[in-house]
Each structure stands twice: as C-alpha cells, then as structure tokens.
Symmetry: C2
Subunit: 146 residues, 2 copies
DNA sequence: TTTGATTAGTTGTATAAACAACTATATGCC
DNA sequence: GGCATATAGTTGTTTATACAACTAATCAAA
C-alpha cells in the first residue's frame, strides 16, 4: 500500500526543497555580512574537515553527497582561497588527502555560531518534538533514496 | 529562549537539504529513463504553469522562490525546447506572459505520475501523521525565513 | 607476471543560481 | 505634463552541479 496521501499541491515543496534553500540563503547572507568569504557549499566541505581533517576527496564525496567532479572543483576553489591543501597520500598514490589550513581553522567557531543562529531563526515557534519528527523523516527519505 | 536543541552533528542535513537533493536526483533519473527531456528546475516552472497558464515571469519568481535572472534563463531554455512561449502583455508592456505549448501540456500527466512515484519511494515506511508533521515544520521554516 | 577490472581524481560541457548593473515601461505626485 | 520612483525583465560574471569521458594507480585472477 503506497503512501498515496500526496495530493497534487503538496508534492512541490518536498521536491524542490524550498525550506533548505531558504535556510542556505539566510546563512549565506550572514556569512557575507560577517565578512566570511566562503560559499555555503565550501562551508559544507570545511564542516566535514573540522570533524575529521585530512580525509580523501572520495570521503568528502560520500560525506557531502556530491559527485567527484563537484568535489574536485570545490577543493580547487578552497585551495585558491588558501583554506585547504591537497597532500598526495603516500600509501595510495591515487589519493589526495585534504587538510585544513590555519585560516580555515579560524573560521570554524564563528561560522558554526552563525549556522546555529540561522537554524534557531528557521525553527522559531516549532516545538522540539516536532523538529525531531521532521529530522527523522528527512533521514528516512535520504536513506530510502541514497 | 532559542531552540538550542541543535547539537553540532545535526545541523548539517537541515542546511544542506540532503533529503530534497536525493528526491530531485531520483526524479531526474526517472525523467531521463522515461525520455522526458526536461530538468527538475524546468519541470518546477511547468508545474506552476499547469496550475495556472499565462502568468508573468515575476509571478513565476514568487511561485518557484527564484530570482528574476534565474527565471529569465529557465524560460529561455523552456522556450528553446518549445515547451513555453513568451507573449508580451497588452495591458503592461513591461511584462511577458508565459504560456504552455501543446507539447508541454502532453508532459503533465506522465511527469506528475513520476513525481508521485518518487515521493512514494522516498516516504516508504513513514506513517502519514509523521509526514504531515514534517511538511508543517518545513512550511514554518520557509515562512520564518522567506 | 601480465592483463583486466576497479578506484581516485580531473577535464569538458551543459544547466542552474546568486548578485550587480542595466533597459524599458509604468506610476504617482507636484 | 514632467520628473522621480518603482516594477518587469535582461545581461554579465562567478560559483556550483550533473554527466560523460578521460588518466593514473591499484588490485585481483589466471
């Protein structure tokens, strides 16, 4: 029995992700206003490197749900901004390990604060338990399709 | 009292919209497999024209949450694909009214079926009432930020 | 050990998004 | 009517994404 509860007018937002677009735009504006010269997409790469530095581009693909060319070019741009550095792996010469620079380490705290601030603005008025339900549903959607 | 329930590891997916990205990718693959030669972004414009044909580019901006240059170029590409036609408004010569062609009308049924199918796959195993909560939360997020 | 398949990463090309700057038309106020 | 302002749409530029095709290194099996 399929989930046929989607009437026409309702599927649009789910597919186009208007909510996450709105969040990303708001966060980008905050970055710009604070003089943080990075895009949200670049920040999403830094985000995973802050969790674990020196991972390969392929691992960044998996973590950020992007394909290899996208990561190649994001790392290109981050390298031009001197926020990361590619280091060829010694154990497997096909791989690059991507390392944060000192400048990128400095970005972490401020950008994470702006991200939390943005989410607080986004979720204002929403009870915690409903947020939890929403997060769980989105996680299932992702697991169902990835 | 802000919603401080966002621990570090959790804000990422909300901001990057991995779920909606996964949905859009799956739907794009279905379009390609079915020989429907449109992008998801183009489809999102057609979607609103199927609801109401002959609206202005500005109205498409509002409906799709895109800026004016984005709509200009999407309509450019849809016009090249002979799916829409710009018609200058007679009452206000600044405006273009965007009309579906017969070819675009033919796309409606099949593409909407694929969209519903995609959402059913995405939401498999999720009870209806949790989907409703999720939709409501995302709507509030959008309203809070738009 | 050679060869065939897999994996990591890059490059080319098309589409799309955001922002700024621009043109043309319409509106409102004196 | 004439001028300032607002609105509709376009163009230029940068960044990002998807897909296909490619190179180089590794692995595995005969």
């Amino acid at each position: 029995m399929p989930n046929n509860q989607f009437k026409k007018g309702e599927l649009y937002s789910f597919i186009t992700g208007k909510a996450s677009t709105a969040i990303a735009r708001r966060l980008q504006k905050k970055f710009n206003a604070a003089g943080l010269n990075v895009t949200i997409e670049q920040w999403s790469v830094l985000y995973h490197l802050w969790k674990q530095d020196g991972i390969s581009q392929q691992e960044l693909c998996n973590a950020t749900f992007r394909d290899k060319p996208s990561i190649t070019r994001l790392v290109d741009n981050l390298e031009r901004l001197q926020l990361v550095k590619r280091v060829p792996s010694e154990s497997d010469r096909r791989m690059n390990l991507v390392f944060l620079t000192k400048q990128a380490q400095k970005l972490q705290e401020e950008s994470m604060e702006l991200a939390e601030e943005t989410l607080n603005e986004a979720l204002e008025g929403v009870p915690v338990e409903r947020i939890d339900v929403c997060k769980e549903v989105l996680q299932i959607v992702y697991d169902n399709l990835k």
